[in-house]
Amino acid sequence: MSKLLVSPSPHIHSKDSTRSLMLDVVIALLPAVLCSFVFYGWREILVMAVSVCSCLLLEWAITRFLLKKPSTLCDLSAVVTGILLGLNLPYTTPWWVVFVGAVVAIGVAKMTFGGLGQNIWNPALVGRVFLLVSFPTYMTTWSQPQGLFGVDAVTGPTPLGAINEGLMQGATVQDIMAQNGYDYGQMLFANLGGSAGEVCAIALLLGFVYLCVRRVIKPWITLSIFATVALTALIFWGVNPARFTGPVFNLLTGGLILGACFMATDYVTSPMSLWGGVVFGVGIGFLTMMIRYFGSYPEGVSFAILIMNSFVPLLNRAFHQKKFGR
Protein backbone atom coordinates (compact mmCIF):
# COMPACT_ATOMS: atom_id res chain seq x y z
CA MET A 1 0.00 0.00 0.00
CA SER A 2 1.25 3.46 -0.85
CA LYS A 3 1.26 6.32 1.62
CA LEU A 4 -2.13 7.70 2.58
CA LEU A 5 -3.12 10.93 0.97
CA VAL A 6 -4.32 13.62 3.37
CA SER A 7 -5.98 16.87 2.39
CA PRO A 8 -8.65 19.20 3.70
CA SER A 9 -12.20 18.55 2.49
CA PRO A 10 -13.77 18.34 -0.06
CA HIS A 11 -12.17 15.23 -1.44
CA ILE A 12 -13.92 15.11 -4.80
CA HIS A 13 -14.10 17.63 -7.60
CA SER A 14 -16.53 18.36 -10.39
CA LYS A 15 -15.48 17.48 -13.91
CA ASP A 16 -15.19 21.14 -14.87
CA SER A 17 -11.79 22.54 -15.57
CA THR A 18 -10.62 25.69 -17.31
CA ARG A 19 -9.76 23.51 -20.27
CA SER A 20 -13.19 21.86 -20.46
CA LEU A 21 -14.94 25.23 -20.26
CA MET A 22 -12.76 26.67 -23.01
CA LEU A 23 -13.35 23.55 -25.08
CA ASP A 24 -17.07 24.14 -24.74
CA VAL A 25 -16.63 27.68 -26.02
CA VAL A 26 -14.63 26.36 -28.97
CA ILE A 27 -17.40 23.84 -29.70
CA ALA A 28 -20.00 26.59 -29.45
CA LEU A 29 -18.03 28.68 -31.95
CA LEU A 30 -17.67 25.83 -34.45
CA PRO A 31 -20.99 26.38 -36.31
CA ALA A 32 -20.11 30.02 -36.87
CA VAL A 33 -16.59 29.10 -37.96
CA LEU A 34 -17.86 26.45 -40.38
CA CYS A 35 -20.42 28.88 -41.75
CA SER A 36 -17.75 31.46 -42.37
CA PHE A 37 -15.65 28.82 -44.15
CA VAL A 38 -18.56 27.86 -46.36
CA PHE A 39 -19.46 31.43 -47.19
CA TYR A 40 -16.04 32.94 -47.58
CA GLY A 41 -13.96 30.03 -48.79
CA TRP A 42 -10.28 29.27 -48.44
CA ARG A 43 -9.20 32.82 -47.67
CA GLU A 44 -11.25 32.73 -44.50
CA ILE A 45 -9.68 29.38 -43.61
CA LEU A 46 -6.30 31.05 -44.02
CA VAL A 47 -7.28 34.02 -41.81
CA MET A 48 -8.59 31.66 -39.12
CA ALA A 49 -5.54 29.41 -39.28
CA VAL A 50 -3.12 32.33 -39.03
CA SER A 51 -5.11 33.84 -36.18
CA VAL A 52 -5.31 30.66 -34.07
CA CYS A 53 -1.76 29.55 -34.77
CA SER A 54 -0.21 32.92 -34.06
CA CYS A 55 -2.20 33.26 -30.82
CA LEU A 56 -0.97 29.86 -29.67
CA LEU A 57 2.58 30.60 -30.75
CA LEU A 58 2.65 33.94 -28.97
CA GLU A 59 1.15 32.55 -25.79
CA TRP A 60 3.72 29.78 -25.76
CA ALA A 61 6.62 32.09 -26.52
CA ILE A 62 5.65 34.67 -23.93
CA THR A 63 5.09 32.17 -21.12
CA ARG A 64 8.25 30.30 -22.05
CA PHE A 65 10.73 33.11 -22.61
CA LEU A 66 9.38 36.25 -20.95
CA LEU A 67 7.39 35.06 -17.95
CA LYS A 68 9.36 31.82 -17.51
CA LYS A 69 6.25 30.11 -16.21
CA PRO A 70 4.81 26.71 -17.09
CA SER A 71 3.01 26.75 -20.39
CA THR A 72 -0.67 27.65 -20.34
CA LEU A 73 -1.41 26.37 -23.84
CA CYS A 74 -3.39 23.42 -22.49
CA ASP A 75 -6.13 25.62 -21.06
CA LEU A 76 -7.16 26.43 -24.68
CA SER A 77 -7.84 30.08 -23.85
CA ALA A 78 -5.47 31.16 -26.63
CA VAL A 79 -7.44 29.03 -29.08
CA VAL A 80 -10.65 30.81 -28.07
CA THR A 81 -8.96 34.21 -28.49
CA GLY A 82 -7.61 33.12 -31.86
CA ILE A 83 -11.00 31.97 -33.15
CA LEU A 84 -12.73 35.11 -31.90
CA LEU A 85 -10.11 37.31 -33.50
CA GLY A 86 -10.46 35.38 -36.74
CA LEU A 87 -14.22 35.80 -36.66
CA ASN A 88 -13.83 39.51 -36.06
CA LEU A 89 -11.83 40.20 -39.20
CA PRO A 90 -12.90 40.41 -42.84
CA TYR A 91 -11.77 37.38 -44.79
CA THR A 92 -9.77 39.62 -47.07
CA THR A 93 -7.38 40.63 -44.27
CA PRO A 94 -3.77 39.90 -45.25
CA TRP A 95 -2.05 37.30 -43.10
CA TRP A 96 0.45 39.73 -41.61
CA VAL A 97 -2.31 42.03 -40.43
CA VAL A 98 -3.93 39.06 -38.71
CA PHE A 99 -0.60 38.33 -37.06
CA VAL A 100 -0.29 41.91 -35.83
CA GLY A 101 -3.79 41.56 -34.40
CA ALA A 102 -2.74 38.41 -32.56
CA VAL A 103 0.34 40.17 -31.18
CA VAL A 104 -1.84 42.92 -29.77
CA ALA A 105 -4.50 40.50 -28.51
CA ILE A 106 -2.21 38.02 -26.75
CA GLY A 107 0.91 40.07 -26.20
CA VAL A 108 -0.58 43.37 -25.16
CA ALA A 109 -4.15 42.79 -24.01
CA LYS A 110 -3.61 39.46 -22.25
CA MET A 111 -0.03 38.76 -21.21
CA THR A 112 0.93 42.30 -20.20
CA PHE A 113 -1.68 42.08 -17.49
CA GLY A 114 -0.42 38.73 -16.26
CA GLY A 115 -2.12 36.24 -18.54
CA LEU A 116 -5.43 34.46 -18.33
CA GLY A 117 -7.71 35.86 -15.68
CA GLN A 118 -5.83 39.11 -15.18
CA ASN A 119 -6.68 41.02 -18.33
CA ILE A 120 -9.12 43.91 -18.12
CA TRP A 121 -10.22 43.96 -21.75
CA ASN A 122 -11.26 41.16 -24.02
CA PRO A 123 -8.03 40.29 -25.88
CA ALA A 124 -9.65 39.48 -29.22
CA LEU A 125 -11.55 42.75 -29.19
CA VAL A 126 -8.48 44.77 -28.32
CA GLY A 127 -6.77 43.09 -31.27
CA ARG A 128 -9.67 43.89 -33.56
CA VAL A 129 -9.99 47.51 -32.48
CA PHE A 130 -6.26 48.00 -32.81
CA LEU A 131 -6.44 46.75 -36.38
CA LEU A 132 -9.55 48.78 -37.08
CA VAL A 133 -7.81 51.98 -36.02
CA SER A 134 -4.42 51.17 -37.52
CA PHE A 135 -5.40 49.52 -40.82
CA PRO A 136 -8.81 50.96 -41.66
CA THR A 137 -8.39 50.12 -45.35
CA TYR A 138 -8.04 46.40 -44.75
CA MET A 139 -10.58 46.36 -42.00
CA THR A 140 -13.40 48.08 -43.84
CA THR A 141 -12.98 46.58 -47.27
CA TRP A 142 -15.91 44.27 -46.87
CA SER A 143 -16.79 41.86 -49.60
CA GLN A 144 -20.01 40.09 -50.31
CA PRO A 145 -19.67 36.42 -49.53
CA GLN A 146 -18.39 34.45 -52.48
CA GLY A 147 -18.86 30.92 -51.22
CA LEU A 148 -16.35 28.16 -50.72
CA PHE A 149 -16.21 27.47 -54.45
CA GLY A 150 -17.38 30.88 -55.54
CA VAL A 151 -15.85 32.92 -58.27
CA ASP A 152 -16.09 36.66 -57.92
CA ALA A 153 -15.61 38.68 -54.82
CA VAL A 154 -18.00 41.60 -54.83
CA THR A 155 -16.73 44.52 -52.81
CA GLY A 156 -19.37 46.47 -50.98
CA PRO A 157 -20.18 48.07 -47.66
CA THR A 158 -21.79 46.30 -44.70
CA PRO A 159 -25.42 47.18 -44.07
CA LEU A 160 -24.41 49.40 -41.17
CA GLY A 161 -21.73 51.02 -43.28
CA ALA A 162 -24.14 51.59 -46.13
CA ILE A 163 -26.62 53.24 -43.79
CA ASN A 164 -23.94 55.45 -42.29
CA GLU A 165 -22.70 56.51 -45.70
CA GLY A 166 -26.18 57.06 -47.02
CA LEU A 167 -27.31 59.11 -44.07
CA MET A 168 -24.28 61.35 -44.45
CA GLN A 169 -25.28 61.96 -48.05
CA GLY A 170 -28.74 62.95 -46.91
CA ALA A 171 -30.71 59.87 -47.91
CA THR A 172 -33.37 58.35 -45.64
CA VAL A 173 -33.11 54.94 -44.06
CA GLN A 174 -35.98 53.57 -46.13
CA ASP A 175 -34.32 54.64 -49.36
CA ILE A 176 -31.04 53.02 -48.48
CA MET A 177 -32.68 49.81 -47.38
CA ALA A 178 -34.64 49.60 -50.58
CA GLN A 179 -31.65 50.54 -52.68
CA ASN A 180 -29.51 47.76 -51.26
CA GLY A 181 -32.32 45.23 -51.13
CA TYR A 182 -31.78 44.23 -47.50
CA ASP A 183 -34.28 41.91 -45.95
CA TYR A 184 -34.31 40.39 -42.49
CA GLY A 185 -34.45 36.74 -43.52
CA GLN A 186 -31.24 37.19 -45.43
CA MET A 187 -29.60 38.82 -42.43
CA LEU A 188 -30.59 35.95 -40.16
CA PHE A 189 -29.17 33.29 -42.42
CA ALA A 190 -26.15 35.14 -43.72
CA ASN A 191 -25.09 36.52 -47.02
CA LEU A 192 -24.33 40.05 -46.00
CA GLY A 193 -20.96 41.64 -46.04
CA GLY A 194 -19.05 42.02 -42.81
CA SER A 195 -16.56 40.30 -40.57
CA ALA A 196 -16.37 36.55 -40.94
CA GLY A 197 -18.24 35.96 -37.72
CA GLU A 198 -21.07 38.29 -38.58
CA VAL A 199 -22.13 36.21 -41.49
CA CYS A 200 -24.63 33.81 -39.96
CA ALA A 201 -26.75 34.86 -36.99
CA ILE A 202 -28.35 31.43 -36.63
CA ALA A 203 -24.99 29.69 -36.25
CA LEU A 204 -23.95 32.14 -33.53
CA LEU A 205 -27.23 31.79 -31.65
CA LEU A 206 -26.90 28.00 -31.85
CA GLY A 207 -23.53 28.27 -30.12
CA PHE A 208 -24.98 30.60 -27.51
CA VAL A 209 -27.78 28.15 -26.71
CA TYR A 210 -25.20 25.36 -26.42
CA LEU A 211 -23.17 27.39 -23.89
CA CYS A 212 -26.29 28.14 -21.84
CA VAL A 213 -27.44 24.51 -21.88
CA ARG A 214 -23.99 23.35 -20.79
CA ARG A 215 -24.13 26.01 -18.07
CA VAL A 216 -20.84 27.46 -19.23
CA ILE A 217 -22.31 30.96 -19.29
CA LYS A 218 -25.43 32.52 -17.95
CA PRO A 219 -27.71 34.22 -20.47
CA TRP A 220 -28.33 37.45 -18.50
CA ILE A 221 -25.61 39.58 -20.06
CA THR A 222 -26.49 38.60 -23.61
CA LEU A 223 -30.22 38.99 -23.09
CA SER A 224 -29.87 42.39 -21.47
CA ILE A 225 -27.73 43.58 -24.40
CA PHE A 226 -30.36 42.41 -26.88
CA ALA A 227 -33.16 43.96 -24.86
CA THR A 228 -31.38 47.30 -24.52
CA VAL A 229 -30.47 47.45 -28.20
CA ALA A 230 -34.03 46.63 -29.20
CA LEU A 231 -35.53 49.11 -26.78
CA THR A 232 -33.17 51.96 -27.66
CA ALA A 233 -33.68 51.36 -31.37
CA LEU A 234 -37.45 51.17 -30.89
CA ILE A 235 -37.54 54.56 -29.22
CA PHE A 236 -35.36 56.33 -31.78
CA TRP A 237 -36.97 54.57 -34.73
CA GLY A 238 -40.40 55.41 -33.40
CA VAL A 239 -39.45 59.06 -33.20
CA ASN A 240 -37.82 59.30 -36.62
CA PRO A 241 -37.85 56.26 -38.89
CA ALA A 242 -36.18 58.22 -41.68
CA ARG A 243 -33.09 59.02 -39.64
CA PHE A 244 -32.78 55.96 -37.38
CA THR A 245 -32.78 52.24 -38.17
CA GLY A 246 -35.24 49.87 -36.52
CA PRO A 247 -34.79 47.34 -33.72
CA VAL A 248 -34.76 44.18 -35.87
CA PHE A 249 -32.24 45.67 -38.25
CA ASN A 250 -29.99 46.62 -35.35
CA LEU A 251 -30.26 43.23 -33.69
CA LEU A 252 -29.34 41.34 -36.83
CA THR A 253 -26.60 43.49 -38.32
CA GLY A 254 -22.99 44.04 -37.49
CA GLY A 255 -21.16 42.18 -34.78
CA LEU A 256 -23.93 42.48 -32.23
CA ILE A 257 -24.79 38.80 -31.96
CA LEU A 258 -21.15 37.70 -32.01
CA GLY A 259 -20.27 40.36 -29.45
CA ALA A 260 -23.22 39.77 -27.15
CA CYS A 261 -22.99 35.97 -27.21
CA PHE A 262 -19.25 35.39 -27.13
CA MET A 263 -17.31 38.55 -26.36
CA ALA A 264 -19.38 40.23 -23.67
CA THR A 265 -19.84 36.91 -21.85
CA ASP A 266 -16.09 36.30 -21.59
CA TYR A 267 -15.60 35.26 -17.95
CA VAL A 268 -12.55 37.34 -17.26
CA THR A 269 -13.87 40.62 -18.53
CA SER A 270 -17.50 40.47 -17.39
CA PRO A 271 -19.01 41.03 -13.94
CA MET A 272 -19.65 37.98 -11.79
CA SER A 273 -22.93 38.84 -10.15
CA LEU A 274 -26.31 38.68 -11.84
CA TRP A 275 -27.21 42.35 -11.46
CA GLY A 276 -23.69 43.45 -12.29
CA GLY A 277 -24.08 41.47 -15.50
CA VAL A 278 -27.39 43.10 -16.30
CA VAL A 279 -25.98 46.59 -15.82
CA PHE A 280 -22.97 45.59 -17.91
CA GLY A 281 -25.28 44.36 -20.69
CA VAL A 282 -27.47 47.44 -20.59
CA GLY A 283 -24.35 49.60 -20.82
CA ILE A 284 -23.07 47.70 -23.84
CA GLY A 285 -26.43 47.82 -25.59
CA PHE A 286 -26.89 51.52 -25.00
CA LEU A 287 -23.34 52.48 -25.99
CA THR A 288 -23.58 50.33 -29.12
CA MET A 289 -26.69 52.15 -30.23
CA MET A 290 -25.25 55.55 -29.43
CA ILE A 291 -22.14 54.82 -31.49
CA ARG A 292 -24.21 53.39 -34.32
CA TYR A 293 -26.58 56.34 -34.42
CA PHE A 294 -24.30 59.24 -33.62
CA GLY A 295 -20.71 57.99 -33.92
CA SER A 296 -18.47 58.31 -36.94
CA TYR A 297 -17.88 54.56 -37.01
CA PRO A 298 -20.79 52.60 -38.45
CA GLU A 299 -20.39 49.81 -35.87
CA GLY A 300 -19.97 50.20 -32.11
CA VAL A 301 -20.21 46.79 -30.47
CA SER A 302 -16.46 46.37 -30.01
CA PHE A 303 -16.03 49.81 -28.54
CA ALA A 304 -19.07 49.41 -26.33
CA ILE A 305 -17.81 46.10 -24.92
CA LEU A 306 -14.32 47.48 -24.33
CA ILE A 307 -15.70 50.54 -22.58
CA MET A 308 -17.92 48.43 -20.35
CA ASN A 309 -15.01 46.03 -19.69
CA SER A 310 -13.30 48.94 -17.99
CA PHE A 311 -16.21 49.24 -15.59
CA VAL A 312 -16.16 45.58 -14.55
CA PRO A 313 -14.02 46.01 -11.42
CA LEU A 314 -16.39 48.76 -10.34
CA LEU A 315 -19.47 46.63 -11.07
CA ASN A 316 -17.95 43.74 -9.14
CA ARG A 317 -17.57 46.07 -6.21
CA ALA A 318 -21.02 47.54 -6.45
CA PHE A 319 -23.04 44.37 -7.01
CA HIS A 320 -22.78 41.39 -4.72
CA GLN A 321 -25.02 38.42 -4.68
CA LYS A 322 -27.55 38.07 -1.94
CA LYS A 323 -26.05 36.53 1.14
CA PHE A 324 -27.87 33.89 3.14
CA GLY A 325 -29.72 35.30 6.14
CA ARG A 326 -28.70 38.90 5.56
Partner: protein, 301 residues
Protein backbone atom coordinates in the same frame (compact mmCIF):
# COMPACT_ATOMS: atom_id res chain seq x y z
CA UNK B 1 -6.21 82.30 -35.20
CA UNK B 2 -4.49 84.67 -32.80
CA UNK B 3 -7.78 85.01 -31.02
CA UNK B 4 -7.90 81.29 -30.35
CA UNK B 5 -4.35 81.29 -29.02
CA UNK B 6 -4.95 84.22 -26.74
CA UNK B 7 -8.20 82.80 -25.45
CA UNK B 8 -6.60 79.45 -24.80
CA UNK B 9 -3.73 80.99 -22.88
CA UNK B 10 -6.08 83.20 -20.92
CA UNK B 11 -8.47 80.42 -19.96
CA UNK B 12 -5.71 78.07 -18.91
CA UNK B 13 -4.00 80.76 -16.86
CA UNK B 14 -7.20 81.68 -15.05
CA UNK B 15 -8.05 78.04 -14.49
CA UNK B 16 -4.59 77.40 -13.09
CA UNK B 17 -4.81 80.34 -10.72
CA UNK B 18 -8.28 79.38 -9.46
CA UNK B 19 -7.27 75.77 -8.86
CA UNK B 20 -4.05 76.85 -7.16
CA UNK B 21 -6.09 79.03 -4.86
CA UNK B 22 -8.48 76.17 -4.06
CA UNK B 23 -5.60 73.82 -3.35
CA UNK B 24 -3.93 76.39 -1.15
CA UNK B 25 -7.07 77.00 0.89
CA UNK B 26 -7.80 73.29 1.26
CA UNK B 27 -4.23 72.58 2.33
CA UNK B 28 -4.42 75.40 4.84
CA UNK B 29 -7.79 74.31 6.24
CA UNK B 30 -7.01 70.63 6.58
CA UNK B 31 -3.42 70.94 7.68
CA UNK B 32 -2.59 68.50 10.45
CA UNK B 33 -0.17 69.75 13.03
CA UNK B 34 2.48 67.11 13.57
CA UNK B 35 5.56 66.89 15.66
CA UNK B 36 8.35 67.57 13.14
CA UNK B 37 10.49 65.03 14.97
CA UNK B 38 8.26 62.26 13.60
CA UNK B 39 9.51 63.02 10.12
CA UNK B 40 13.07 63.18 11.35
CA UNK B 41 12.82 59.82 13.09
CA UNK B 42 11.13 58.27 10.10
CA UNK B 43 13.97 59.44 7.92
CA UNK B 44 16.57 57.44 9.85
CA UNK B 45 14.40 54.31 9.97
CA UNK B 46 15.21 51.46 7.59
CA UNK B 47 11.91 52.00 5.76
CA UNK B 48 11.11 48.31 5.35
CA UNK B 49 7.74 48.65 7.10
CA UNK B 50 8.18 45.05 8.24
CA UNK B 51 6.35 45.40 11.54
CA UNK B 52 9.17 43.73 13.45
CA UNK B 53 8.99 46.45 16.09
CA UNK B 54 5.34 45.67 16.78
CA UNK B 55 4.01 48.70 14.95
CA UNK B 56 2.29 48.82 11.60
CA UNK B 57 5.26 50.41 9.87
CA UNK B 58 8.20 52.74 10.25
CA UNK B 59 6.01 55.84 10.47
CA UNK B 60 3.87 54.26 13.18
CA UNK B 61 7.04 53.40 15.06
CA UNK B 62 8.29 56.95 14.71
CA UNK B 63 5.02 58.34 16.06
CA UNK B 64 5.11 55.96 18.99
CA UNK B 65 8.75 56.67 19.71
CA UNK B 66 8.15 60.42 19.75
CA UNK B 67 5.16 60.03 22.07
CA UNK B 68 6.80 57.60 24.49
CA UNK B 69 8.67 58.94 27.53
CA UNK B 70 11.70 56.76 26.77
CA UNK B 71 12.87 54.17 24.29
CA UNK B 72 12.76 51.16 26.61
CA UNK B 73 9.80 49.51 24.87
CA UNK B 74 10.51 50.65 21.33
CA UNK B 75 13.27 48.94 19.44
CA UNK B 76 13.76 48.57 15.74
CA UNK B 77 15.23 45.11 15.28
CA UNK B 78 16.03 45.74 11.65
CA UNK B 79 17.99 48.93 12.13
CA UNK B 80 19.55 47.61 15.32
CA UNK B 81 21.70 49.66 17.64
CA UNK B 82 22.93 52.08 14.98
CA UNK B 83 19.48 53.27 14.03
CA UNK B 84 18.35 53.38 17.64
CA UNK B 85 21.31 55.54 18.52
CA UNK B 86 20.28 57.99 15.81
CA UNK B 87 16.68 57.93 16.99
CA UNK B 88 17.84 58.54 20.54
CA UNK B 89 19.95 61.47 19.36
CA UNK B 90 16.96 63.06 17.64
CA UNK B 91 14.65 62.60 20.59
CA UNK B 92 17.24 63.22 23.28
CA UNK B 93 16.59 59.88 24.95
CA UNK B 94 19.01 57.27 26.11
CA UNK B 95 19.05 53.90 24.48
CA UNK B 96 20.28 50.62 25.83
CA UNK B 97 22.22 48.60 23.32
CA UNK B 98 20.70 45.25 22.54
CA UNK B 99 22.60 42.21 21.41
CA UNK B 100 21.91 41.59 17.75
CA UNK B 101 19.60 38.66 17.17
CA UNK B 102 19.04 36.18 14.40
CA UNK B 103 16.29 33.72 13.51
CA UNK B 104 17.11 30.13 14.38
CA UNK B 105 15.20 27.17 12.96
CA UNK B 106 14.74 24.62 15.71
CA UNK B 107 14.01 21.56 13.64
CA UNK B 108 16.51 19.34 11.93
CA UNK B 109 14.08 16.66 10.82
CA UNK B 110 15.43 16.25 7.33
CA UNK B 111 13.78 13.94 4.82
CA UNK B 112 16.16 11.10 5.83
CA UNK B 113 15.92 11.63 9.58
CA UNK B 114 12.16 12.01 9.59
CA UNK B 115 10.50 9.80 6.99
CA UNK B 116 7.16 10.85 5.56
CA UNK B 117 4.33 8.62 6.72
CA UNK B 118 1.60 10.15 4.57
CA UNK B 119 1.28 12.60 1.74
CA UNK B 120 -0.25 16.05 2.03
CA UNK B 121 -2.39 17.08 -0.93
CA UNK B 122 -3.92 20.38 0.17
CA UNK B 123 -2.96 24.01 -0.24
CA UNK B 124 0.78 24.40 0.29
CA UNK B 125 0.62 26.49 3.43
CA UNK B 126 1.87 25.56 6.89
CA UNK B 127 -1.10 27.34 8.47
CA UNK B 128 -3.62 25.28 6.47
CA UNK B 129 -1.69 22.07 7.02
CA UNK B 130 -1.31 22.66 10.74
CA UNK B 131 -5.02 23.36 11.09
CA UNK B 132 -5.80 20.08 9.33
CA UNK B 133 -3.62 17.54 11.09
CA UNK B 134 -0.40 16.70 12.83
CA UNK B 135 1.64 16.64 9.65
CA UNK B 136 3.02 14.21 7.13
CA UNK B 137 5.71 12.83 9.40
CA UNK B 138 5.49 10.95 12.66
CA UNK B 139 6.56 14.08 14.52
CA UNK B 140 3.62 16.29 15.47
CA UNK B 141 5.92 19.17 16.49
CA UNK B 142 8.34 19.56 13.63
CA UNK B 143 8.60 21.67 10.52
CA UNK B 144 5.73 21.21 8.04
CA UNK B 145 7.89 22.31 5.15
CA UNK B 146 5.39 24.45 3.24
CA UNK B 147 7.47 27.60 3.65
CA UNK B 148 5.12 30.05 5.35
CA UNK B 149 8.19 31.49 7.07
CA UNK B 150 10.03 32.00 3.80
CA UNK B 151 6.95 33.68 2.33
CA UNK B 152 6.67 35.93 5.39
CA UNK B 153 10.29 37.09 5.21
CA UNK B 154 10.56 40.48 3.54
CA UNK B 155 14.31 40.43 3.42
CA UNK B 156 14.81 37.24 1.46
CA UNK B 157 16.67 35.76 4.39
CA UNK B 158 14.71 32.51 4.53
CA UNK B 159 14.54 29.91 1.83
CA UNK B 160 13.30 26.34 1.72
CA UNK B 161 15.97 23.72 1.12
CA UNK B 162 14.39 21.19 -1.19
CA UNK B 163 16.87 18.48 -0.15
CA UNK B 164 16.05 18.63 3.56
CA UNK B 165 12.57 20.12 3.36
CA UNK B 166 13.58 22.65 6.02
CA UNK B 167 13.98 26.42 5.93
CA UNK B 168 17.48 27.87 5.86
CA UNK B 169 18.33 31.26 7.36
CA UNK B 170 20.73 33.54 5.54
CA UNK B 171 22.33 35.27 8.53
CA UNK B 172 23.68 38.14 6.49
CA UNK B 173 20.16 39.08 5.43
CA UNK B 174 18.21 38.24 8.59
CA UNK B 175 17.17 41.33 10.50
CA UNK B 176 15.45 39.50 13.37
CA UNK B 177 12.18 41.28 12.62
CA UNK B 178 10.29 38.24 13.87
CA UNK B 179 7.89 37.88 10.92
CA UNK B 180 8.87 34.24 10.48
CA UNK B 181 8.37 33.54 14.19
CA UNK B 182 4.80 34.79 13.86
CA UNK B 183 4.20 32.95 10.58
CA UNK B 184 5.29 29.52 11.84
CA UNK B 185 2.25 27.67 13.23
CA UNK B 186 4.52 25.14 14.95
CA UNK B 187 6.56 27.81 16.77
CA UNK B 188 9.81 26.32 15.56
CA UNK B 189 11.68 29.53 14.78
CA UNK B 190 13.25 31.40 17.68
CA UNK B 191 15.09 34.70 17.77
CA UNK B 192 18.39 34.13 19.53
CA UNK B 193 21.38 36.44 20.14
CA UNK B 194 23.79 36.16 17.27
CA UNK B 195 26.65 35.39 19.62
CA UNK B 196 30.33 36.38 19.41
CA UNK B 197 31.40 36.25 15.74
CA UNK B 198 28.08 34.56 15.06
CA UNK B 199 28.97 31.51 17.15
CA UNK B 200 26.05 29.96 19.01
CA UNK B 201 24.72 26.68 20.33
CA UNK B 202 21.08 25.69 20.21
CA UNK B 203 18.80 22.68 20.43
CA UNK B 204 17.49 22.14 16.94
CA UNK B 205 14.28 20.39 17.93
CA UNK B 206 10.96 21.24 19.56
CA UNK B 207 9.57 17.73 20.03
CA UNK B 208 8.03 17.26 23.47
CA UNK B 209 7.12 13.59 23.03
CA UNK B 210 8.71 11.04 25.30
CA UNK B 211 12.11 9.81 24.14
CA UNK B 212 11.15 6.59 22.37
CA UNK B 213 8.19 8.20 20.60
CA UNK B 214 10.28 11.15 19.47
CA UNK B 215 13.12 8.92 18.35
CA UNK B 216 10.77 6.70 16.37
CA UNK B 217 9.38 9.67 14.49
CA UNK B 218 12.71 11.38 13.87
CA UNK B 219 16.26 10.15 14.24
CA UNK B 220 17.62 13.55 15.12
CA UNK B 221 14.95 14.53 17.65
CA UNK B 222 15.72 15.74 21.14
CA UNK B 223 14.71 12.78 23.28
CA UNK B 224 14.91 14.68 26.55
CA UNK B 225 17.61 12.38 27.96
CA UNK B 226 19.19 15.26 29.85
CA UNK B 227 22.75 14.24 29.08
CA UNK B 228 23.48 17.76 27.86
CA UNK B 229 22.14 19.32 31.06
CA UNK B 230 24.24 16.95 33.17
CA UNK B 231 27.36 17.68 31.17
CA UNK B 232 26.98 21.45 31.08
CA UNK B 233 29.22 23.15 33.63
CA UNK B 234 27.54 26.53 33.21
CA UNK B 235 23.97 25.56 34.12
CA UNK B 236 22.87 26.88 30.75
CA UNK B 237 20.69 23.92 29.80
CA UNK B 238 17.25 23.11 31.13
CA UNK B 239 15.16 20.09 30.18
CA UNK B 240 11.43 20.64 30.39
CA UNK B 241 8.72 18.42 28.97
CA UNK B 242 11.21 16.04 27.34
CA UNK B 243 12.92 18.92 25.58
CA UNK B 244 16.23 20.63 26.24
CA UNK B 245 16.75 24.36 25.88
CA UNK B 246 20.02 26.28 25.98
CA UNK B 247 19.95 29.68 27.64
CA UNK B 248 22.06 31.87 25.34
CA UNK B 249 22.86 34.24 28.21
CA UNK B 250 24.61 31.49 30.16
CA UNK B 251 26.10 29.43 27.34
CA UNK B 252 29.89 29.69 27.14
CA UNK B 253 30.11 27.93 23.77
CA UNK B 254 32.23 25.04 25.11
CA UNK B 255 30.36 22.67 22.74
CA UNK B 256 30.38 19.84 25.29
CA UNK B 257 26.60 19.41 25.03
CA UNK B 258 26.88 19.13 21.28
CA UNK B 259 29.47 16.40 21.64
CA UNK B 260 27.46 14.29 24.08
CA UNK B 261 24.02 14.61 22.43
CA UNK B 262 23.15 11.08 21.30
CA UNK B 263 20.86 12.18 18.46
CA UNK B 264 22.75 15.21 17.21
CA UNK B 265 19.89 17.50 18.06
CA UNK B 266 22.22 20.18 19.42
CA UNK B 267 23.77 22.32 16.76
CA UNK B 268 26.70 24.73 16.94
CA UNK B 269 27.15 27.17 14.09
CA UNK B 270 29.86 29.50 12.80
CA UNK B 271 32.61 27.90 14.86
CA UNK B 272 36.00 28.20 13.17
CA UNK B 273 36.79 24.50 13.50
CA UNK B 274 34.53 21.48 13.09
CA UNK B 275 33.69 19.81 16.40
CA UNK B 276 36.08 17.00 17.39
CA UNK B 277 33.61 14.94 19.37
CA UNK B 278 36.13 12.42 20.67
CA UNK B 279 38.48 15.10 21.98
CA UNK B 280 35.65 16.89 23.78
CA UNK B 281 34.34 13.60 25.19
CA UNK B 282 37.82 12.73 26.43
CA UNK B 283 38.05 16.14 28.06
CA UNK B 284 34.72 15.59 29.81
CA UNK B 285 35.77 12.13 30.95
CA UNK B 286 39.02 13.49 32.38
CA UNK B 287 37.20 16.25 34.20
CA UNK B 288 34.76 13.76 35.65
CA UNK B 289 37.60 11.50 36.71
CA UNK B 290 39.33 14.39 38.45
CA UNK B 291 36.08 15.41 40.08
CA UNK B 292 35.51 11.86 41.26
CA UNK B 293 39.05 11.73 42.68
CA UNK B 294 38.54 15.07 44.36
CA UNK B 295 35.29 13.81 45.82
CA UNK B 296 37.02 10.67 47.03
CA UNK B 297 39.76 12.72 48.66
CA UNK B 298 37.18 14.96 50.23
CA UNK B 299 35.40 11.90 51.55
CA UNK B 300 38.72 10.60 52.93
CA UNK B 301 39.33 13.83 54.75
Amino acid sequence: MTHTVIWTIAIITVLGLVLALVLYLVAKKFKVEEDPRIDEVEKVMPGANCGGCGFAGCRAFAEAAVKAPNLDNNFCPVGGNDVMAQVAAILGYEVKAKAPQVAVVRCNGTCEARPRVNEYDGFASCAVKAALYAGDTGCAFGCLGCGDCAAACQFGALSMDSATGLPVVDETKCTACGACVKACPKKIIELRPKGPRGMREFVSCVNKDKGPVAKKACQSACIGCGLCAKTCTHEAITVEGNLAWIDPAKCKLCRECEAVCPTGAIHGVNFPKPLDKDAVKARIAERKKKAAEAAKEAAHE
